[in-house]
Amino acid sequence: MDKSTEFERIEKRTRTKTAALRTVTYLLLTVWAVFVLFPFYWMILTSLKSYSAYNGEYIPTFFTLSPTLQNYTEAFTAVPLLRYFGNTLVFTLVTTAAMLVVTVLAAFAFSRLSFRGKNLAFTLFLSLMMIPNELVIITNFVTITNWDLRNTFPGLILPSVTSVFYIYLLKENFELIPEELYKAAKVDGASDFKYLWKVMIPICRPTVITITILKVIECWNSYVWPRLITDDENFFLVSNGIQAIRENGFGRENIPAMMAAVVAISVPLIILFLIFHKKIMAGVARGGTKG
Protein backbone atom coordinates (compact mmCIF):
# COMPACT_ATOMS: atom_id res chain seq x y z
CA MET A 1 0.00 0.00 0.00
CA ASP A 2 2.75 2.38 1.03
CA LYS A 3 4.79 1.49 -2.00
CA SER A 4 1.97 2.14 -4.44
CA THR A 5 1.31 5.66 -3.07
CA GLU A 6 4.99 6.37 -3.40
CA PHE A 7 4.79 5.19 -6.99
CA GLU A 8 1.75 7.34 -7.63
CA ARG A 9 3.47 10.38 -6.19
CA ILE A 10 6.49 9.94 -8.42
CA GLU A 11 4.29 9.39 -11.42
CA LYS A 12 2.28 12.48 -10.60
CA ARG A 13 5.39 14.58 -10.22
CA THR A 14 6.68 13.37 -13.58
CA ARG A 15 3.36 14.18 -15.15
CA THR A 16 3.37 17.72 -13.75
CA LYS A 17 6.92 18.15 -14.97
CA THR A 18 6.00 16.98 -18.46
CA ALA A 19 2.96 19.23 -18.48
CA ALA A 20 5.04 22.19 -17.37
CA LEU A 21 7.63 21.50 -20.04
CA ARG A 22 4.88 21.21 -22.65
CA THR A 23 3.38 24.52 -21.59
CA VAL A 24 6.75 26.24 -21.79
CA THR A 25 7.32 24.73 -25.24
CA TYR A 26 3.98 25.92 -26.55
CA LEU A 27 4.55 29.32 -24.99
CA LEU A 28 7.93 29.69 -26.67
CA LEU A 29 6.61 28.52 -30.02
CA THR A 30 3.66 30.87 -29.82
CA VAL A 31 5.87 33.82 -28.93
CA TRP A 32 7.98 33.25 -32.01
CA ALA A 33 4.86 32.73 -34.15
CA VAL A 34 3.66 36.14 -32.96
CA PHE A 35 7.03 37.65 -33.88
CA VAL A 36 6.72 36.15 -37.35
CA LEU A 37 3.12 37.15 -37.92
CA PHE A 38 3.14 40.57 -36.32
CA PRO A 39 4.81 42.45 -39.22
CA PHE A 40 2.21 40.96 -41.56
CA TYR A 41 -0.60 41.97 -39.25
CA TRP A 42 0.86 45.43 -38.89
CA MET A 43 1.21 46.01 -42.61
CA ILE A 44 -2.37 44.92 -43.30
CA LEU A 45 -3.66 46.96 -40.38
CA THR A 46 -1.76 50.08 -41.41
CA SER A 47 -2.85 49.71 -45.01
CA LEU A 48 -6.48 49.84 -43.85
CA LYS A 49 -6.09 52.96 -41.74
CA SER A 50 -6.92 56.23 -43.39
CA TYR A 51 -4.11 58.72 -43.92
CA SER A 52 -5.42 61.20 -41.41
CA ALA A 53 -6.23 58.53 -38.85
CA TYR A 54 -2.72 57.10 -39.08
CA ASN A 55 -0.99 60.42 -38.77
CA GLY A 56 -3.29 61.45 -35.96
CA GLU A 57 -2.14 58.56 -33.79
CA TYR A 58 0.87 59.53 -31.74
CA ILE A 59 0.48 56.20 -30.01
CA PRO A 60 -0.32 53.65 -32.72
CA THR A 61 -3.44 51.58 -32.11
CA PHE A 62 -3.58 47.84 -32.58
CA PHE A 63 -6.85 47.81 -34.48
CA THR A 64 -8.96 50.10 -36.57
CA LEU A 65 -12.68 50.59 -36.39
CA SER A 66 -13.02 52.34 -39.71
CA PRO A 67 -11.09 50.33 -42.30
CA THR A 68 -10.73 51.95 -45.69
CA LEU A 69 -9.56 50.75 -49.08
CA GLN A 70 -8.60 54.29 -50.03
CA ASN A 71 -4.89 53.47 -49.65
CA TYR A 72 -5.09 50.70 -52.21
CA THR A 73 -6.63 53.04 -54.77
CA GLU A 74 -3.90 55.51 -53.93
CA ALA A 75 -1.17 52.88 -54.24
CA PHE A 76 -2.33 51.79 -57.67
CA THR A 77 -2.95 55.26 -59.06
CA ALA A 78 -0.24 57.50 -57.60
CA VAL A 79 2.58 55.16 -58.68
CA PRO A 80 2.54 52.71 -61.60
CA LEU A 81 2.25 49.73 -59.30
CA LEU A 82 0.29 47.78 -61.89
CA ARG A 83 3.12 48.25 -64.35
CA TYR A 84 5.64 46.98 -61.78
CA PHE A 85 3.44 43.93 -61.37
CA GLY A 86 3.23 43.37 -65.11
CA ASN A 87 7.00 43.73 -65.47
CA THR A 88 7.67 41.31 -62.64
CA LEU A 89 5.20 38.82 -64.09
CA VAL A 90 6.81 38.94 -67.53
CA PHE A 91 10.29 38.75 -66.01
CA THR A 92 9.35 35.82 -63.76
CA LEU A 93 7.52 33.81 -66.42
CA VAL A 94 10.10 34.24 -69.17
CA THR A 95 13.09 33.67 -66.89
CA THR A 96 11.56 30.57 -65.35
CA ALA A 97 10.51 29.13 -68.71
CA ALA A 98 13.96 29.74 -70.21
CA MET A 99 15.61 28.28 -67.12
CA LEU A 100 13.47 25.13 -67.43
CA VAL A 101 14.37 24.59 -71.09
CA VAL A 102 18.09 25.12 -70.52
CA THR A 103 18.15 23.03 -67.35
CA VAL A 104 16.16 20.10 -68.72
CA LEU A 105 18.25 19.86 -71.88
CA ALA A 106 21.54 20.02 -70.00
CA ALA A 107 20.40 17.58 -67.31
CA PHE A 108 19.28 15.16 -70.00
CA ALA A 109 22.61 15.32 -71.78
CA PHE A 110 24.50 14.70 -68.56
CA SER A 111 22.30 11.89 -67.32
CA ARG A 112 21.42 9.88 -70.43
CA LEU A 113 23.69 10.64 -73.35
CA SER A 114 27.23 9.39 -73.50
CA PHE A 115 29.74 11.59 -75.20
CA ARG A 116 33.41 12.39 -75.08
CA GLY A 117 34.41 14.86 -72.37
CA LYS A 118 31.25 14.33 -70.35
CA ASN A 119 32.94 13.89 -66.99
CA LEU A 120 35.21 16.83 -67.52
CA ALA A 121 32.32 19.03 -68.63
CA PHE A 122 30.23 18.01 -65.63
CA THR A 123 33.06 18.70 -63.21
CA LEU A 124 33.49 22.14 -64.72
CA PHE A 125 29.75 22.74 -64.38
CA LEU A 126 29.85 21.70 -60.74
CA SER A 127 32.79 23.93 -59.94
CA LEU A 128 30.76 26.87 -61.23
CA MET A 129 28.37 26.27 -58.33
CA MET A 130 30.91 27.83 -55.98
CA ILE A 131 31.06 31.12 -57.84
CA PRO A 132 29.15 33.80 -55.97
CA ASN A 133 26.90 36.09 -57.94
CA GLU A 134 28.66 39.18 -56.62
CA LEU A 135 31.80 38.23 -58.47
CA VAL A 136 30.27 37.98 -61.93
CA ILE A 137 27.65 40.70 -61.66
CA ILE A 138 30.23 43.43 -62.27
CA THR A 139 31.17 42.19 -65.72
CA ASN A 140 27.58 41.32 -66.53
CA PHE A 141 26.66 44.88 -65.77
CA VAL A 142 29.33 46.10 -68.18
CA THR A 143 28.35 43.49 -70.81
CA ILE A 144 24.67 44.37 -70.74
CA THR A 145 25.49 48.06 -70.82
CA ASN A 146 27.76 47.56 -73.83
CA TRP A 147 25.06 45.59 -75.61
CA ASP A 148 22.71 48.52 -75.08
CA LEU A 149 20.34 46.31 -73.16
CA ARG A 150 19.87 48.51 -70.11
CA ASN A 151 16.20 49.09 -69.41
CA THR A 152 15.07 46.19 -71.58
CA PHE A 153 13.61 42.81 -70.75
CA PRO A 154 16.41 40.84 -72.43
CA GLY A 155 18.89 42.74 -70.27
CA LEU A 156 16.96 41.83 -67.16
CA ILE A 157 16.36 38.22 -68.11
CA LEU A 158 19.46 36.88 -69.88
CA PRO A 159 21.93 36.84 -66.95
CA SER A 160 19.27 35.51 -64.58
CA VAL A 161 18.44 32.36 -66.57
CA THR A 162 20.92 29.64 -65.63
CA SER A 163 21.36 27.99 -62.27
CA VAL A 164 23.99 25.30 -62.16
CA PHE A 165 22.47 23.92 -59.00
CA TYR A 166 19.16 23.14 -60.68
CA ILE A 167 20.94 21.32 -63.50
CA TYR A 168 22.69 19.24 -60.88
CA LEU A 169 19.46 18.55 -58.97
CA LEU A 170 17.57 17.48 -62.07
CA LYS A 171 20.43 15.41 -63.41
CA GLU A 172 20.58 13.42 -60.17
CA ASN A 173 16.85 12.87 -60.44
CA PHE A 174 16.97 11.84 -64.09
CA GLU A 175 19.61 9.27 -63.27
CA LEU A 176 17.23 7.46 -60.95
CA ILE A 177 15.11 6.47 -63.93
CA PRO A 178 16.11 2.94 -64.97
CA GLU A 179 18.20 2.73 -68.10
CA GLU A 180 15.88 -0.04 -69.38
CA LEU A 181 13.12 2.46 -70.02
CA TYR A 182 15.43 4.38 -72.29
CA LYS A 183 16.42 1.22 -74.17
CA ALA A 184 12.77 0.20 -74.50
CA ALA A 185 11.85 3.58 -75.87
CA LYS A 186 14.73 3.34 -78.34
CA VAL A 187 13.49 -0.07 -79.48
CA ASP A 188 10.04 1.43 -79.99
CA GLY A 189 11.70 3.99 -82.19
CA ALA A 190 11.10 7.01 -79.98
CA SER A 191 13.51 9.86 -80.50
CA ASP A 192 15.59 11.18 -77.62
CA PHE A 193 13.54 14.29 -77.50
CA LYS A 194 10.25 12.43 -77.41
CA TYR A 195 11.59 10.17 -74.66
CA LEU A 196 12.67 13.17 -72.64
CA TRP A 197 9.32 14.87 -73.08
CA LYS A 198 7.01 11.87 -72.67
CA VAL A 199 8.86 9.77 -70.12
CA MET A 200 11.53 11.57 -68.15
CA ILE A 201 9.78 14.84 -67.41
CA PRO A 202 6.52 13.21 -66.29
CA ILE A 203 8.42 10.83 -64.00
CA CYS A 204 10.49 13.64 -62.52
CA ARG A 205 7.63 16.05 -62.24
CA PRO A 206 8.09 16.70 -58.48
CA THR A 207 11.65 17.90 -59.04
CA VAL A 208 10.64 19.98 -62.03
CA ILE A 209 7.89 21.60 -59.97
CA THR A 210 10.34 22.19 -57.13
CA ILE A 211 12.85 24.05 -59.23
CA THR A 212 10.07 25.99 -60.94
CA ILE A 213 8.71 27.20 -57.62
CA LEU A 214 12.15 28.06 -56.28
CA LYS A 215 12.91 30.04 -59.41
CA VAL A 216 9.59 31.87 -59.26
CA ILE A 217 10.26 32.92 -55.66
CA GLU A 218 13.77 33.99 -56.59
CA CYS A 219 12.53 36.03 -59.57
CA TRP A 220 9.69 37.66 -57.70
CA ASN A 221 12.04 38.82 -54.96
CA SER A 222 15.06 39.70 -57.05
CA TYR A 223 16.33 43.15 -56.38
CA VAL A 224 20.04 43.63 -56.99
CA TRP A 225 20.31 42.88 -60.69
CA PRO A 226 17.14 44.75 -61.69
CA ARG A 227 18.32 47.71 -59.68
CA LEU A 228 21.65 47.80 -61.48
CA ILE A 229 20.18 47.41 -64.92
CA THR A 230 17.06 49.57 -64.80
CA ASP A 231 16.71 53.22 -63.97
CA ASP A 232 13.64 53.80 -66.11
CA GLU A 233 10.62 53.13 -63.96
CA ASN A 234 8.83 51.62 -66.95
CA PHE A 235 11.03 48.58 -66.39
CA PHE A 236 11.03 48.45 -62.59
CA LEU A 237 10.20 45.18 -60.90
CA VAL A 238 8.18 45.18 -57.69
CA SER A 239 11.28 45.23 -55.45
CA ASN A 240 12.66 48.28 -57.21
CA GLY A 241 9.20 49.78 -57.29
CA ILE A 242 8.81 49.43 -53.54
CA GLN A 243 12.23 50.97 -53.02
CA ALA A 244 11.34 53.88 -55.30
CA ILE A 245 8.09 54.32 -53.40
CA ARG A 246 10.06 54.36 -50.19
CA GLU A 247 12.52 56.99 -51.38
CA ASN A 248 10.12 59.35 -53.12
CA GLY A 249 6.78 57.67 -53.70
CA PHE A 250 3.68 59.08 -52.12
CA GLY A 251 5.43 61.84 -50.35
CA ARG A 252 7.46 60.49 -47.49
CA GLU A 253 4.80 60.45 -44.86
CA ASN A 254 2.01 58.59 -46.59
CA ILE A 255 2.80 55.38 -44.81
CA PRO A 256 -0.65 53.76 -45.15
CA ALA A 257 -0.44 53.94 -48.95
CA MET A 258 3.08 52.55 -48.75
CA MET A 259 1.82 49.64 -46.69
CA ALA A 260 -0.98 49.04 -49.17
CA ALA A 261 1.66 48.68 -51.87
CA VAL A 262 3.64 46.33 -49.62
CA VAL A 263 0.56 44.17 -49.05
CA ALA A 264 -0.21 44.09 -52.77
CA ILE A 265 3.35 42.98 -53.52
CA SER A 266 3.43 40.31 -50.82
CA VAL A 267 0.05 38.78 -51.54
CA PRO A 268 0.80 36.82 -54.77
CA LEU A 269 3.64 34.83 -53.22
CA ILE A 270 1.75 34.27 -49.99
CA ILE A 271 -1.22 32.88 -51.92
CA LEU A 272 1.15 30.68 -53.90
CA PHE A 273 2.64 29.54 -50.62
CA LEU A 274 -0.69 28.79 -48.97
CA ILE A 275 -1.72 26.64 -51.93
CA PHE A 276 1.57 24.79 -52.38
CA HIS A 277 3.07 25.03 -48.89
CA LYS A 278 3.86 21.31 -48.65
CA LYS A 279 5.56 21.26 -52.05
CA ILE A 280 7.41 24.51 -51.44
CA MET A 281 8.74 23.47 -48.05
CA ALA A 282 9.79 20.05 -49.32
CA GLY A 283 11.41 21.72 -52.31
CA VAL A 284 13.32 24.28 -50.28
CA ALA A 285 14.49 21.57 -47.88
CA ARG A 286 16.03 19.79 -50.87
CA GLY A 287 17.26 22.67 -52.92
CA GLY A 288 17.00 25.95 -51.10
CA THR A 289 20.04 27.97 -50.25
CA LYS A 290 18.75 31.25 -48.91
CA GLY A 291 19.78 31.99 -45.36
Binding site: P39, V142, G291
Partner: protein, 296 residues
Protein backbone atom coordinates in the same frame (compact mmCIF):
# COMPACT_ATOMS: atom_id res chain seq x y z
CA UNK B 1 29.38 7.71 -82.09
CA UNK B 2 30.43 10.93 -83.69
CA UNK B 3 26.87 11.91 -84.36
CA UNK B 4 25.79 11.20 -80.82
CA UNK B 5 28.69 13.33 -79.59
CA UNK B 6 27.40 16.19 -81.63
CA UNK B 7 23.86 15.70 -80.41
CA UNK B 8 24.91 15.71 -76.77
CA UNK B 9 26.78 18.97 -77.16
CA UNK B 10 23.74 20.37 -78.92
CA UNK B 11 21.65 19.60 -75.84
CA UNK B 12 24.28 21.27 -73.71
CA UNK B 13 24.69 24.25 -75.99
CA UNK B 14 22.14 26.60 -74.35
CA UNK B 15 23.58 25.97 -70.90
CA UNK B 16 27.13 26.41 -72.13
CA UNK B 17 26.27 29.65 -73.92
CA UNK B 18 24.54 31.16 -70.90
CA UNK B 19 27.17 30.01 -68.41
CA UNK B 20 30.02 30.96 -70.70
CA UNK B 21 28.84 34.50 -71.32
CA UNK B 22 27.42 35.30 -67.90
CA UNK B 23 29.64 33.28 -65.58
CA UNK B 24 32.94 32.03 -66.97
CA UNK B 25 33.85 35.10 -68.97
CA UNK B 26 32.91 37.49 -66.12
CA UNK B 27 34.97 35.41 -63.74
CA UNK B 28 38.08 35.93 -65.82
CA UNK B 29 37.17 39.51 -66.48
CA UNK B 30 36.72 40.46 -62.84
CA UNK B 31 40.35 39.52 -62.17
CA UNK B 32 41.50 41.64 -65.08
CA UNK B 33 39.39 44.58 -63.95
CA UNK B 34 40.76 44.37 -60.45
CA UNK B 35 44.34 44.78 -61.67
CA UNK B 36 43.72 47.48 -64.26
CA UNK B 37 44.60 50.86 -62.81
CA UNK B 38 42.69 53.99 -63.66
CA UNK B 39 40.14 52.27 -65.88
CA UNK B 40 37.93 54.78 -67.64
CA UNK B 41 34.61 53.32 -68.68
CA UNK B 42 33.91 56.12 -71.15
CA UNK B 43 37.11 55.83 -73.17
CA UNK B 44 37.82 52.20 -72.19
CA UNK B 45 41.46 52.98 -71.42
CA UNK B 46 43.75 52.05 -68.55
CA UNK B 47 46.92 53.58 -67.16
CA UNK B 48 48.62 50.42 -66.15
CA UNK B 49 48.48 47.17 -64.30
CA UNK B 50 49.04 46.69 -60.60
CA UNK B 51 47.64 46.45 -57.14
CA UNK B 52 46.48 50.02 -56.78
CA UNK B 53 42.77 49.11 -56.79
CA UNK B 54 43.22 46.78 -53.85
CA UNK B 55 45.20 49.34 -51.96
CA UNK B 56 42.58 52.00 -52.66
CA UNK B 57 39.75 49.78 -51.47
CA UNK B 58 41.60 48.68 -48.35
CA UNK B 59 42.28 52.30 -47.42
CA UNK B 60 38.78 53.54 -48.20
CA UNK B 61 37.04 54.40 -44.91
CA UNK B 62 33.69 53.41 -46.43
CA UNK B 63 35.04 49.96 -47.20
CA UNK B 64 36.46 49.57 -43.71
CA UNK B 65 33.13 50.63 -42.26
CA UNK B 66 31.39 48.10 -44.52
CA UNK B 67 33.76 45.34 -43.39
CA UNK B 68 33.17 46.23 -39.76
CA UNK B 69 29.39 46.21 -40.20
CA UNK B 70 29.45 42.93 -42.07
CA UNK B 71 31.70 41.27 -39.49
CA UNK B 72 29.51 42.38 -36.60
CA UNK B 73 26.45 41.14 -38.47
CA UNK B 74 28.05 37.77 -39.17
CA UNK B 75 29.38 37.26 -35.65
CA UNK B 76 26.04 38.09 -34.06
CA UNK B 77 23.49 36.58 -36.41
CA UNK B 78 25.05 33.27 -37.42
CA UNK B 79 25.37 31.74 -33.93
CA UNK B 80 22.19 33.40 -32.72
CA UNK B 81 20.01 32.28 -35.60
CA UNK B 82 21.43 28.76 -35.62
CA UNK B 83 20.98 28.34 -31.89
CA UNK B 84 17.53 29.82 -31.95
CA UNK B 85 16.51 27.66 -34.90
CA UNK B 86 17.73 24.62 -32.97
CA UNK B 87 15.71 25.60 -29.93
CA UNK B 88 12.54 26.12 -31.97
CA UNK B 89 13.04 22.92 -33.94
CA UNK B 90 13.50 20.86 -30.79
CA UNK B 91 10.34 22.45 -29.44
CA UNK B 92 8.47 21.72 -32.65
CA UNK B 93 9.68 18.16 -32.64
CA UNK B 94 8.39 17.54 -29.13
CA UNK B 95 4.79 18.47 -29.84
CA UNK B 96 2.13 16.76 -31.90
CA UNK B 97 -0.96 18.94 -32.16
CA UNK B 98 -0.56 22.15 -34.16
CA UNK B 99 2.95 21.20 -35.29
CA UNK B 100 2.14 21.63 -38.97
CA UNK B 101 0.47 24.95 -38.34
CA UNK B 102 3.49 26.30 -36.48
CA UNK B 103 5.81 24.98 -39.15
CA UNK B 104 3.86 26.69 -41.90
CA UNK B 105 3.74 29.98 -40.01
CA UNK B 106 7.47 29.90 -39.31
CA UNK B 107 8.20 29.40 -42.97
CA UNK B 108 6.23 32.42 -44.11
CA UNK B 109 9.12 34.94 -44.11
CA UNK B 110 10.96 32.79 -46.65
CA UNK B 111 8.42 33.46 -49.38
CA UNK B 112 8.03 37.16 -48.76
CA UNK B 113 9.80 39.95 -50.54
CA UNK B 114 12.49 41.07 -48.10
CA UNK B 115 12.43 44.59 -49.49
CA UNK B 116 8.71 44.89 -48.84
CA UNK B 117 8.70 43.41 -45.34
CA UNK B 118 11.81 45.41 -44.50
CA UNK B 119 9.69 48.51 -44.95
CA UNK B 120 7.30 47.22 -42.31
CA UNK B 121 10.21 46.69 -39.93
CA UNK B 122 11.42 50.20 -40.66
CA UNK B 123 8.02 51.59 -39.70
CA UNK B 124 7.83 49.48 -36.56
CA UNK B 125 11.22 50.70 -35.38
CA UNK B 126 11.29 54.22 -36.69
CA UNK B 127 10.73 57.26 -34.54
CA UNK B 128 9.35 60.32 -36.27
CA UNK B 129 7.99 63.66 -35.22
CA UNK B 130 4.47 62.26 -35.45
CA UNK B 131 4.91 59.02 -33.60
CA UNK B 132 7.44 57.10 -31.57
CA UNK B 133 6.59 53.91 -33.44
CA UNK B 134 5.45 50.54 -32.21
CA UNK B 135 8.67 49.26 -30.72
CA UNK B 136 9.40 52.47 -28.86
CA UNK B 137 5.89 52.36 -27.48
CA UNK B 138 6.69 48.99 -25.93
CA UNK B 139 10.07 50.18 -24.66
CA UNK B 140 8.36 53.15 -23.11
CA UNK B 141 5.71 50.94 -21.53
CA UNK B 142 8.45 48.94 -19.83
CA UNK B 143 10.05 52.13 -18.61
CA UNK B 144 12.90 52.30 -21.08
CA UNK B 145 14.34 55.21 -22.98
CA UNK B 146 12.95 55.57 -26.52
CA UNK B 147 15.44 55.60 -29.35
CA UNK B 148 15.27 55.99 -33.13
CA UNK B 149 16.39 52.64 -34.48
CA UNK B 150 16.57 53.76 -38.10
CA UNK B 151 18.31 57.13 -37.96
CA UNK B 152 19.62 56.97 -34.42
CA UNK B 153 22.77 55.69 -32.74
CA UNK B 154 24.93 53.01 -34.32
CA UNK B 155 24.12 50.22 -31.87
CA UNK B 156 20.38 50.76 -32.37
CA UNK B 157 20.70 50.50 -36.14
CA UNK B 158 22.90 47.45 -35.74
CA UNK B 159 20.28 45.91 -33.48
CA UNK B 160 17.50 46.31 -36.07
CA UNK B 161 19.78 45.00 -38.79
CA UNK B 162 20.64 41.87 -36.82
CA UNK B 163 17.06 41.37 -35.69
CA UNK B 164 15.71 41.61 -39.21
CA UNK B 165 18.44 39.34 -40.56
CA UNK B 166 17.62 36.68 -37.97
CA UNK B 167 13.93 37.04 -38.82
CA UNK B 168 14.69 36.52 -42.49
CA UNK B 169 17.09 33.57 -42.19
CA UNK B 170 15.29 31.57 -39.51
CA UNK B 171 12.65 29.92 -41.75
CA UNK B 172 15.26 28.09 -43.78
CA UNK B 173 17.18 26.95 -40.72
CA UNK B 174 14.09 25.80 -38.86
CA UNK B 175 12.94 23.86 -41.91
CA UNK B 176 16.27 22.08 -42.30
CA UNK B 177 16.65 21.32 -38.60
CA UNK B 178 13.11 20.00 -38.10
CA UNK B 179 13.74 17.74 -41.08
CA UNK B 180 17.00 16.54 -39.55
CA UNK B 181 15.44 15.96 -36.13
CA UNK B 182 12.54 14.01 -37.59
CA UNK B 183 14.91 11.70 -39.44
CA UNK B 184 16.83 10.60 -36.34
CA UNK B 185 16.19 6.90 -35.83
CA UNK B 186 13.65 6.43 -33.01
CA UNK B 187 15.30 3.23 -31.80
CA UNK B 188 18.20 5.25 -30.35
CA UNK B 189 15.77 7.21 -28.23
CA UNK B 190 13.92 4.09 -27.15
CA UNK B 191 17.16 2.41 -26.17
CA UNK B 192 18.26 5.45 -24.19
CA UNK B 193 14.90 5.63 -22.44
CA UNK B 194 15.11 1.99 -21.43
CA UNK B 195 18.46 2.78 -19.88
CA UNK B 196 16.85 5.65 -17.99
CA UNK B 197 18.92 8.36 -19.62
CA UNK B 198 17.94 11.91 -18.74
CA UNK B 199 16.49 14.22 -21.37
CA UNK B 200 19.44 16.59 -21.36
CA UNK B 201 21.82 13.71 -21.77
CA UNK B 202 19.79 12.23 -24.63
CA UNK B 203 19.91 15.60 -26.37
CA UNK B 204 23.66 16.02 -25.94
CA UNK B 205 24.66 12.42 -26.60
CA UNK B 206 22.21 11.36 -29.30
CA UNK B 207 20.34 14.22 -30.90
CA UNK B 208 23.20 16.67 -31.33
CA UNK B 209 25.67 14.19 -32.83
CA UNK B 210 23.01 12.81 -35.15
CA UNK B 211 22.07 16.19 -36.57
CA UNK B 212 25.55 17.71 -36.41
CA UNK B 213 26.12 17.45 -40.19
CA UNK B 214 23.02 19.55 -40.78
CA UNK B 215 24.02 22.09 -38.14
CA UNK B 216 27.37 22.52 -39.81
CA UNK B 217 25.72 22.81 -43.18
CA UNK B 218 23.61 25.63 -41.76
CA UNK B 219 26.60 27.32 -40.14
CA UNK B 220 28.51 27.28 -43.41
CA UNK B 221 25.63 28.52 -45.55
CA UNK B 222 24.81 30.99 -42.78
CA UNK B 223 28.31 32.46 -42.87
CA UNK B 224 28.22 32.74 -46.65
CA UNK B 225 24.75 34.27 -46.62
CA UNK B 226 25.53 36.78 -43.88
CA UNK B 227 28.70 37.93 -45.62
CA UNK B 228 26.60 38.69 -48.67
CA UNK B 229 24.01 40.72 -46.76
CA UNK B 230 22.78 43.66 -48.71
CA UNK B 231 19.10 43.93 -49.65
CA UNK B 232 17.87 43.65 -46.06
CA UNK B 233 19.95 46.69 -45.22
CA UNK B 234 18.58 48.60 -48.21
CA UNK B 235 15.06 47.79 -47.05
CA UNK B 236 15.76 49.16 -43.59
CA UNK B 237 18.02 52.13 -44.22
CA UNK B 238 17.46 53.11 -47.86
CA UNK B 239 19.75 52.90 -50.86
CA UNK B 240 22.33 55.34 -49.55
CA UNK B 241 23.89 52.99 -47.04
CA UNK B 242 27.15 54.89 -46.79
CA UNK B 243 25.34 57.94 -45.49
CA UNK B 244 23.53 55.79 -42.94
CA UNK B 245 26.86 54.24 -41.96
CA UNK B 246 25.33 50.81 -42.36
CA UNK B 247 26.88 49.66 -45.63
CA UNK B 248 27.96 46.06 -46.15
CA UNK B 249 30.76 44.69 -48.31
CA UNK B 250 28.35 43.69 -51.07
CA UNK B 251 26.69 47.08 -50.79
CA UNK B 252 30.10 48.71 -51.23
CA UNK B 253 30.68 46.67 -54.39
CA UNK B 254 27.38 47.78 -55.89
CA UNK B 255 27.85 51.39 -54.85
CA UNK B 256 31.24 51.41 -56.57
CA UNK B 257 29.66 49.98 -59.68
CA UNK B 258 26.56 52.04 -59.92
CA UNK B 259 24.63 54.77 -58.19
CA UNK B 260 25.69 58.13 -56.87
CA UNK B 261 29.28 57.16 -56.19
CA UNK B 262 29.45 54.56 -58.97
CA UNK B 263 31.34 54.15 -62.20
CA UNK B 264 34.39 52.36 -60.82
CA UNK B 265 34.21 48.72 -61.93
CA UNK B 266 37.87 48.28 -61.01
CA UNK B 267 37.34 49.17 -57.36
CA UNK B 268 34.16 47.09 -57.33
CA UNK B 269 36.07 44.09 -58.71
CA UNK B 270 38.84 44.44 -56.16
CA UNK B 271 36.31 44.67 -53.32
CA UNK B 272 34.35 41.68 -54.66
CA UNK B 273 37.52 39.60 -54.84
CA UNK B 274 38.47 40.57 -51.30
CA UNK B 275 35.00 39.46 -50.19
CA UNK B 276 35.40 36.21 -52.08
CA UNK B 277 38.75 35.58 -50.42
CA UNK B 278 37.26 36.18 -46.96
CA UNK B 279 34.30 33.90 -47.61
CA UNK B 280 36.49 31.18 -49.08
CA UNK B 281 38.86 31.28 -46.10
CA UNK B 282 36.05 31.09 -43.58
CA UNK B 283 34.35 28.27 -45.45
CA UNK B 284 37.60 26.29 -45.49
CA UNK B 285 38.11 26.89 -41.76
CA UNK B 286 34.52 25.76 -41.17
CA UNK B 287 35.07 22.61 -43.17
CA UNK B 288 38.26 21.83 -41.23
CA UNK B 289 36.51 22.34 -37.91
CA UNK B 290 33.57 20.23 -39.02
CA UNK B 291 35.88 17.38 -40.02
CA UNK B 292 37.06 17.27 -36.41
CA UNK B 293 33.71 17.54 -34.68
CA UNK B 294 30.94 16.31 -36.93
CA UNK B 295 29.78 12.73 -36.61
CA UNK B 296 28.79 11.17 -39.89
Amino acid sequence: MKQSNLKAWLYLLPAILFLGIFMVYPLVDVFIYSFEEGYNSASQTVFGVGLYNYSFVLHDPYFLQAVKNTLILVVITVPLSTGFALLISVGLNSIKPLRNLYQTVYFLPYVTNTLAVGLVFMILFKKTAYTDGMVNLLIHAFGGETVDFIDGPYWAKMFVMCFYTVWVVLPFKILILTGALASVDQTYYNAARVDGTSKGRIFRRITLPMISPMIFYLVITGFIGAFKAYSDEVALFGTNLNAAGMNTIVGYVYDMLYGDSGGYPSYASAAALILFAIVLTITCVNLLVSKKTVVY
